[in-house]
């Protein structure tokens, strides 16, 4: 039962981690993209649209590209036209939710319920998956989970061990100084925004291809906002984001575990739990660790 619980926790944590990793990079560059939710739902839609004709791997790529497109819309208005990042992000979220809902009905008809895709099978890593209790939970998962593991390591290395990573972090602290030092803050902020879009799209793809196997209007269900909370809770560090995402995954998994254990608790209240946890987490994370100093400021 512990393994089942951990397995569900890792599975629900995967899209949150993917989205939070990209947003960590964007926020280290000083960009807060509240449009993450719009990029995730765009990824969901692209995945379901591409899964049947092209197959799951291509559908994951399509999801990432759809997320990138939403991030480009955000970047165009918030970075190039220098509008307020938070309002722009809110608009991109509304646009994503509306556009995917409309496209889904137009493309697949009002029913659409028939549109299903088989979910990706779990892949057991030889050796690691044989570890008692935790092995099967962490190392017998579908492909997107391993992408998330790899992306965590990659982000840790890239942000802290490369010139570009250093330049990106400098931009997030003080774009004017970064520019004076000969860097290109605008380009680095675009880079961070694009990475956040790609990974949010991938997160949406993983929800459809590894968890649900179908599409529903508004199915991203606030995960974009939860991911932003995870970034803060993870202290703007990829490894911190991984831990925080796992905590959220566990909160969601609790619902399945307690239900299957026969506790008769109202299921809607369990659905509200991750959102309440986000509020508590944000309150706890506040003030103790400094956010990138130029986070959310209009570009120079």
């Amino acid at each position: 039962m512990i393994t089942d619980f951990l397995d569900a926790a890792v599975r629900t944590a995967t899209p949150l981690l993917l989205a939070a990793l990209g947003e960590t990079v964007a926020e280290r560059a000083g960009v807060i993209n509240v449009g993450l939710e719009g990029a995730i739902i765009a990824g969901c839609f692209a995945a379901i649209a591409a899964a049947t004709p092209l197959g799951a791997p291509a559908a994951l790529a399509a999801a990432a590209l759809a997320g990138l497109a939403m991030a480009a819309a955000f970047g165009l208005v918030a970075l190039t036209l220098k509008a307020d990042q938070i309002i722009t992000g809110t608009a991109v979220t509304l646009l994503g939710l509306g556009l995917t809902g409309a496209l889904y009905r137009v493309t697949f008809g009002d029913q659409g319920a028939a549109l299903r895709t088989p979910t990706l099978p779990p892949l057991a890593l030889p050796g690691l998956s044989a570890i008692p209790i935790v092995g099967p939970a962490f190392f017998r998962q579908p492909l997107p989970t391993y992408i998330a593991y790899a992306a965590t390591l990659l982000a840790c290395w890239w942000l802290y061990r490369t010139q570009t990573g250093l330049a990106l972090r400098a931009t997030g602290e003080n774009p004017a100084a970064a520019r004076a030092a000969g860097l290109a803050p605008a380009r680095l902020q675009w880079l961070g925004t694009a990475i956040a879009g790609l990974s949010a799209g991938l997160a949406g793809g993983s929800i459809v291809l590894a968890q649900v196997g179908t599409f529903a209007e508004g199915m991203s269900a606030g995960r974009g906002f939860v991911a932003i909370a995870i970034v803060a809770l993870g202290r703007w560090h990829p490894a911190g984001a991984a831990l925080a995402a796992l905590v959220f995954g566990a909160a969601s998994a609790l619902q399945f575990t307690l239900q299957s254990a026969g506790f008769d608790l109202p299921y809607q209240l369990f659905l509200a739990l991750p959102y309440l946890l986000t509020l508590v987490a944000l309150a706890l994370a506040a003030g103790r660790y400094a956010a990138p100093a130029a986070l959310g400021k209009r570009p120079v």
């Binding site: 509240v34 819309a73 208005v77 036209l81 220098k82 509008a83 307020d84 938070i86 309002i87 722009t88 992000g89 809110t90 608009a91 991109v92 509304l94 646009l95 994503g96 939710l97 509306g98 556009l99 809902g101 409309a102 009905r105 137009v106 009002d110 602290e173 003080n174 774009p175 004017a176 100084a177 209007e217 269900a221 606030g222 906002f225 939860v226 932003i228 909370a229 109202p266 809607q268 209240l269 659905l271 509200a272 959102y275 309440l276 986000t278 509020l279 944000l282 309150a283 506040a286 003030g287 400094a290 100093a293 130029a294 400021k297 209009r298 570009p299 120079v300």
Partner: protein, 363 residues
Amino acid sequence: MPAALRSLALTVGTVVVAIALLALLLAGAGYDAAEALGALWNGAFGSWTAIASGTLLRATPLLFTGLAVSLAFTTGILNVGAEGQLLAGATAATAVALAMPASAGLAVTLAALAAGTLAGAAWAAVPAWLRARFGVLEVISTIMLNFVALNVTGWLVRGPLQEPTRIYPQSAMLDAAVRLPRLVPGTRLHAGVALAVLLALALAWTLRATAGGFRVRMTGANAAAAASAGRIRTGRVVALVFLASGALAGLGGAVEVLGVTFALYENLSPGYGYTAIAVALLAGLRPGAAIVAALLFGALQAGAAAMQRDAGVPAVMVSVVEGCIIVLLLASEWVRDRAARAATSTRGGPPTPPAHHASPTPA
């Protein structure tokens, strides 16, 4: 061109471009765009019934929530939680109206309206406190509370507030004696629309002509300057405005239950609280202009319903128009900024200050 005229031209242009985009989208999806837009127009303005029972009825919750968002944004509070605050108001109003004897009539109605207002304020008090005490970004906390409100309502209509036969996920119907009076006999238009318009005018006047309104505008324009030069207790202003914003949305929820649905449902609101952001931005955050913006979006939604019925076009297409309008307005705001900056520099005014206000980097 005077600034007001240019701003009006940009707003009208935005709406025209957004509707042109809708036409393109319709044509691209293989619909007869002319027929669909015709159905949209007829559904919104085609008859007195369409105007009263469609457009005005839909515009009412949009005006309440649009005012809530306008007021908050004016003060620099990004309250995107009007949806949750509206649901909290609807829930409280239903609970109070069902608990009181229907024979008390108008007293029940007034008590339910008050309860909805208070519940909306209470729901907004949580993000207000989280922001004041912990600096939690209200964009995230208010959205989280929207989901909590939706789930709690979903539980209530299947639990404590469920109708007596325990079959449907909804509350019992409110007695006819406690409902809001009909404004135009034969239509569904209720007194709530008048209340919303009065509130909009009162809010416009308060912001423009009172000391409190001045404090609110100064806090939103530049909180640091308002605090240091104007001796304004900005923390208090922000907290009070946040509560007032929630109260407006909560009242909107109560009015929706007492005037339109007569029972509490989980999906009582088709996203009024989110469309409210488009309403507020289109109105340039001015409460008076919000009346017009709410009418426009009310017409769009009423028309969309007709378009789905008569031309088979999914109503959700219209939400694309809403998103486009916000994005286009943000882009045009940039155009406006640039024009203003150009005007300043040609008048030989001070150079534009650097847009970057980051505090000094901590060591």
